[in-house]
Amino acid sequence: MTIIAWSGDLDRMWPTLILGSTGAAYGMQTTIFFTFWGLFPLVRDDVRITGTNAMTKALAAMNRPGMSHMKLSKLQMAGAGAWMMKKLASDQSVSSPTELIEMCRDLDVNLWPCEMTMELLGLRRDQLIEGVGEPVGAATALSEMGRSQINLFI
């Protein structure tokens, strides 16, 4: 299974990580290819500002990187929505995105960042969380999709 994680929204990345970890648990070779907004959650929570120039730095300032800082695609309500969603999940013992990405690593899900968009958005390898693979290109992602029975773009 290959999932293209294009979005950095909490309500897209969460199901991406649920499906990715579950796919690996089912014995499927599983790859998540992180591109565009999907790259920002891979940045370590303690890295506040990424970027290599004024524009990419401003991008990080307006779109805080990190798995713990994702926003909802709707009902975000200046942070209250995401907070409530996480509170509900935690109250019901639903695993957080941070726990799920750890599970993905543990179950050998390939976590591939997209090289071109990393450069475009000014993200460096050393700013990403542990366990993320080498940055790869679109052809590598497509080649993996060609071998996968399930391909998702989330």
């Binding site: 970890s21 579950t22 648990a25 089912y26 014995g27 013992s93 639903v94 179950l107």
Partner: protein
């Protein structure tokens, strides 16, 4: 659950996975982690409270080729006995 009683056969359990209180997909993820820790032919007991496990664990066993020896419930949780292929 098809039945709510203790397993008719007592199995010798080599590893117990306690996924009680964990929601989908954690019981399946923990089951998958557990199966890697035992040898072929050994038996693992998975305990879970998540209702999703009733369909997920049998389907996981079927898809991964491991044998679901027993599924039961009681004392407020579900029990799955799985033999590693």
């Amino acid at each position: 659950m098809e039945r709510a009683m203790e397993p008719a056969v007592e199995y010798e359990i080599d590893l117990t996975i306690d996924a009680k209180g964990k929601k989908c997909p954690m019981p399946v993820l923990m089951t998958s982690q557990g199966i890697k820790k035992i040898e072929s032919g050994q038996i693992m007991l998975v305990e879970a409270t998540d209702g999703g496990s009733r369909s997920d664990i049998p389907s996981w066993a079927k898809d991964t080729g491991n044998e679901l020896l027993d599924a039961s419930s009681g004392d407020g949780f579900y029990r799955y006995v799985i033999r590693k292929k």
